[in-house]
Amino acid sequence: MGETLVTSAIDGLLIGVIYGLAAMGLTLIFGVMDVINLAHGPIIALGMFGVYLLFTFLGLNPFIALAIVAVAGLLLGFVIYFIAVNRVIDAPPLSSLLSTFSVNMMIIGVGTAVLSTSAYNVDYSLGTVQLGFFRVPGTRLTASLVALLVTLLLYLFLYRTRPGKYIRAVANNRMSAELMGIPSTRILALAFGIGTMLATISGGLIATILPINILAGGSFELKSFVIVVLGGLGNPLGAMIGGLILGLIEGVVPVFMKTTWVPVIEYVLFVLILLVRPQGIMGAKE
């Protein structure tokens, strides 16, 4: 029992890091510009397919392909920002919801037409890693380590670099930031780009460990919402912690009860947090 519990907990945390990474993308965008990005799921799916296509057709190592996917994700974010978000940034929230939802529909529509909704696998293995009694597939461990690394880089970027500080300044108070001479539109685009990049990276990592299809981003988008509320809206660190909590629930709950209870517990927790502590565990951005 003890061993199973430890194994399940570690497994949960390993996948939780990746959930957290996806949620950080969503929460960063919300925190900076009060936009709920409804295209988050399909963007995760694009990240999955980016890695899949580079691996399958160019034979790239998936973790190297991930770097290309990350850059593409950043650029995609700029494109989506200027086409769909910039114009509605000061409009009532419904406008940005609708416009990001349109992007969502477009990606899903084109993706379904080109790739169908069938499943694909990134057929890549790093063997099985044995640490004492704990065994984990090599790709899963690597994916989690990469997610941690990306989280660390994001933190350094936000707190140690000038553009990162600009992003935080704009998140805090856009008008004051503009008065200090910070080019807010460019910073908003950068923040959106980074949010999108995080989503594509998490998608790419998921592709190395689980089967993918064009609709697969949807379930991670839902998880991201739960995590974001759990950790506090607009708080990237909170999102990572929320991700770990969600992963832990998914890992440990099945030890004690039927696995079908996991989503029930997750969503009950979601509603409870909204009712009891709507600022999330770590507090919202203010």
Partner: protein, 444 residues
């Protein structure tokens, strides 16, 4: 807008997304894919004088998209192969001289139950299909069966093994497959034969109509035969990450893992069992292993056993029919396999293809015996069928409680093994009289 209303809004959104995820997109009404067959070209050749030709429409849906895509496409291919064969042979000649030829009308059901009901209604009314063939999977077929019964259109089901559909008092629905209740019992018999000391089994199955039926029947059978079921649990059909399950299985330390569901979850489950390095002696999964594409799993496929409705190596021949005292009907296994291979770069047909073809054969035989295409007469002829085909023995339950349930057909067990050159090959290991190789046991 206040922060609070943002929270409420986001909650609503999550709800909306969840609903959308369950319902799936609802695309436009598709145009029917009428598949022009060789018959239509042949029909222009001078026919025998005084014979009239009758086109019979066969309606069905196929999962061209969605999770049943792989198996469903194969099933449709098999059915189409039969249509081509029967039309190329000049159709069916009835006693009154009428020549019956077949054409198919089909739609994409997107592996979605709601679409199935909508589309079968359309097939029965607007397209006026004479006979129906089921979609792939028990869940979709259950939805289609309601419509077939409602409109009095005989439907042959294939790729649909769940017993429940045939216990609803329907009279128009006929099953080509061995029912779910007998799906995994052979795997337990085989395990007992190869290792009488293996007693602990974990049954982990997809929460779908078919797999639940199989798992429950397997559990009862296991307990009646001295096995200990150490884990019995279902997983969500959309499960992609089996890690939590695998940890649970390891904690129960079974000798054998039985279960699975359909192709995608089954192959993912097998892959993750292997990646995690689970030490188990025997793995028998539903549906996925007999698929030729299962070999793409590589090392993860080695040793995995799967019950199969049919295999190219299965020994159902005219001689076997004589021995069993059954009438033989239709083409030989070799001919069927060769036609398929010629059209598919030498790939072996899976049992889904054979099932599709067998559905056609059943219809052909019933129309021949009835001497008519009248649905009521065909239904009567169907009830009386008792024959051996390349697909195996076919006979229906005609009792009121389980009308249409398949009672003639039996399962085969296959196992993926490495041959001398290290290639992955599918071997028949059960029943022993039809075996092509010794079982690989234990796997680890």
């Amino acid at each position: 807008m206040s922060r609070k209303s943002f929270f409420i809004l986001s909650m609503l959104l999550v709800l909306a997304l969840a609903v959308a995820a369950c319902g799936g997109a609802q695309p436009q009404q598709p145009a029917p894919e009428s598949q022009p067959t060789k018959a239509e070209t042949k029909a222009e050749e001078p026919a025998a004088p005084a014979s009239t030709e009758q086109d019979v429409t066969i309606g069905f849906t196929a999962s061209q998209t969605g999770k049943y895509n792989v198996s469903s496409t194969r099933q449709t291919t098999g059915l189409q192969q039969w249509i081509d064969d029967v039309n190329a042979a000049g159709g069916i000649k009835l006693d009154d001289g009428t020549i019956v030829k077949f054409k198919a009308v089909s739609y994409d059901d997107e592996s979605n139950k709601d679409r199935v009901q909508e589309l079968y209604t359309r097939l029965a009314t607007e397209d006026d299909a004479d006979f129906l063939i089921s979609p792939y999977s028990s869940g979709l077929t259950a939805a289609a069966a309601v419509i077939a019964e409602q409109y009095g259109k005989p439907m042959i089901t294939t790729g649909a093994a769940s017993d429940a559909t045939y216990k609803q008092g329907y009279t128009q629905v006929f099953q080509a497959y061995t029912p779910a209740s007998r799906y995994l019992t052979g795997a337990l018999d085989q395990l007992a034969a190869v290792d009488p000391s293996a007693k602990k089994v974990a049954i982990v199955y997809e929460n779908s109509k078919f797999s639940t039926g199989v798992a429950e029947a397997a559990k009862t059978y296991a307990e009646d035969n001295g096995f200990e079921v150490v884990l019995f649990e279902g997983y969500d059909p959309d499960t992609k990450d089996f890690n939590a399950f695998i940890n649970k299985i390891e904690a129960a330390s079974p000798d054998a893992i039985l279960g699975g569901g359909h192709f995608q979850d089954g192959s993912t489950f097998a892959r993750q069992l292997f990646e995690k390095g689970v030490a188990v002696k025997d793995i028998a999964l539903l549906v996925a292993p007999p698929e030729p594409t299962f070999a793409e799993l590589g090392d993860a496929a080695v040793g995995v056993i799967g019950p199969s409705q049919w295999e190219p190596a299965a020994k159902y021949t005219e001689e076997a029919a004589k021995e069993a005292g059954l009438p033989w009907y239709g083409i030989s296994s070799a001919d069927f396999t060769k036609t398929y291979q010629d059209a598919h770069d030498g790939e072996d047909p899976s049992y889904h293809v054979a099932g599709g073809y067998a559905a056609g054969l059943l219809l052909q035989k019933a129309i021949e015996d009835a001497g008519s295409t009248d649905p009521a007469k065909v239904k009567e002829a169907m009830d009386a069928i008792d024959m051996l085909t390349f697909f195996g023995h076919l006979k229906f339950d005609t009792s009121e409680e389980a009308h249409g349930l398949q009672i003639g057909h039996d399962m085969i067990l296959i196992q993926w093994q490495r041959d001398d050159d290290g290639n992955l090959v599918k071997q028949v290991i059960w029943p022993t009289e039809g075996a092509t190789a010794e079982p690989l046991y234990p796997i680890h």
